[in-house]
């Protein structure tokens, strides 16, 4: 069973093999916990949140289109659930329609950071996550910690691919400014 892809397992669950959902949960529990912890910036109820994500994913499994990838689908459910959790917890305005999504941008090409630079960025991002706006924080987490490409992030956040590039770029600039203000060096 372990050699099956996520999508193949999802099809089995759709066809009635409910316990196979356990394999999918094993594969994604750590990832979603990490994503939730970084996105929500809280520790205490991440386990419950992830559990709720799995419950929602299991209940909605028949809506999964097996021609698509499972990963963005389950992350999309997690994104929605975490955004709802943020809305309940804080008064922060989370992802209202903004002009980034409306107007076209020059496509910021997907750049391959060197491994060292990427690790540096991850370390810095970790330090200033709480100070970043959710709009910029989430693409940065998905790109640097979940190793997703622009298209996958676009599908999870349901925004144009070019907007992902713009938000990553702005997020990094914001991160740089936060570091400069705190007297630390960036990069």
């Amino acid at each position: 069973m372990s050699e099956l892809t996520d999508e193949e397992i999802a099809i089995r669950v759709q066809q009635g093999d409910d316990p196979s959902f356990g394999i999918l949960m094993q594969r994604y529990e750590q990832k979603l916990t990490r994503f939730g912890r970084k996105f929500l910036s809280v520790d205490e109820d991440i386990k419950d949140r992830v559990q709720e994500v799995f419950i929602k994913a299991f209940a909605s499994i028949q809506s999964f289109d097996h021609r698509q990838r499972f990963s963005p689908w389950v992350y999309r459910i997690a994104h929605n659930h975490f955004v709802d959790a943020l809305k309940k917890k804080s008064r922060e305005k989370v992802f209202s329609l903004d002009l980034d999504v409306f107007f076209p941008h020059l496509v910021a090409p997907e750049t391959a950071d060197s491994e060292t630079h990427r690790e540096d960025l991850k370390r810095m991002l970790d330090k200033c996550l709480n100070k970043l706006d959710s709009k910029y924080k989430e693409p940065l987490i998905l790109y640097y910690f979940e190793d997703m490409d622009y298209k996958e992030i676009a599908d999870i956040l349901q925004i144009p691919v070019s907007t992902v590039g713009v938000r990553l770029q702005r997020g990094k600039t914001m991160m740089k400014r936060i570091f400069e203000e705190s007297g630390e060096t960036y990069g």
Binding site: D18, Q51, Q62, S63, F103
Partner: protein
């Protein structure tokens, strides 16, 4: 016992509930029904926009508003003044609703929303223009009494007459111009003077449907511009 439960991972707890039959999958038809409902809403709103836009085109043709810009600055001024702004605003609101409904589809969210907005507006303008050319609205206008909701719209706009714009049929030619009967069956005497703008080569005769731009004083219109409607 509680300690044991705390040690369980989220996946363990959910799997336990699945195996115990406490968690159920929503059936496929639930999602199918949701999709059908969404598509139906998109179709209904699209048809409403198409109806409104085509109605706007139909009315601005019928009231002659479309010809006003032929007569210079005053014509343009009259044109914008006579546009059914609240119907245009309503169409824009429906377009926004439509965008909200479709923005979760990959075809829409993968591109800037502006492209979808422009696409929808262009489709509605082209579609609306095509529908306006058929006799669809003319027939509804003639039967406005029997139509429950839209009837009022047709009754209201069917009788509407924009300022300084007159559409009717020439019933008699005379030395100073002609006499015409408008759609309200009012008889108007149209005076053509040196300041009247007439399309090059246009000849008016009895029976022509015409658009007259000019101020009305009792039953007389001092024409600033004339346009033969059959020429469009």
């Amino acid at each position: 016992m509680d300690n044991n439960n705390d040690k369980k991972t989220a996946a363990d707890k959910v799997l336990e509930s699945i195996n115990a039959g406490r968690l159920k999958k929503l059936p496929g038809w639930h999602f199918l029904l949701k999709t059908i409902l969404k598509i139906t809403s998109v179709v209904i709103i699209s048809l409403m926009i198409l109806h409104l836009v085509s109605f706007i085109f139909f009315m601005i043709h019928r009231m002659g508003v479309i010809y006003a810009p032929h007569f210079g600055f005053h014509g343009w001024f009259a044109f914008f003044g006579a546009l059914p702004l609240h119907l245009i605003l309503l169409s824009i609101i429906f377009v926004v609703f439509l965008l909200i409904l479709v923005r979760r589809y990959p075809l829409v969210y993968r591109r800037p929303l502006l492209y979808s907005a422009i696409g929808i507006v262009l489709l509605m303008i082209i579609g609306g223009h095509m529908v306006a050319k058929t006799d669809f609205h003319a027939r509804l206008l003639n039967n406005a009494e029997g139509i429950p909701i839209f009837g009022e719209l047709y009754r209201r706009y069917g009788m509407h007459k924009p300022h300084n714009m007159h559409v009717g049929v020439v019933i008699q030619m005379n030395e100073s111009g002609f006499v015409m009967k408008d759609r309200r069956e009012d008889t108007l005497t149209v005076i053509i003077g040196p300041e009247t703008r007439v399309p090059t080569g246009a000849v008016f005769k009895k029976g022509d449907e015409v658009f007259v731009f000019g101020s009305r004083n009792d039953g007389t219109v001092q024409a600033l511009g004339l346009h033969k409607i059959g020429n469009r």
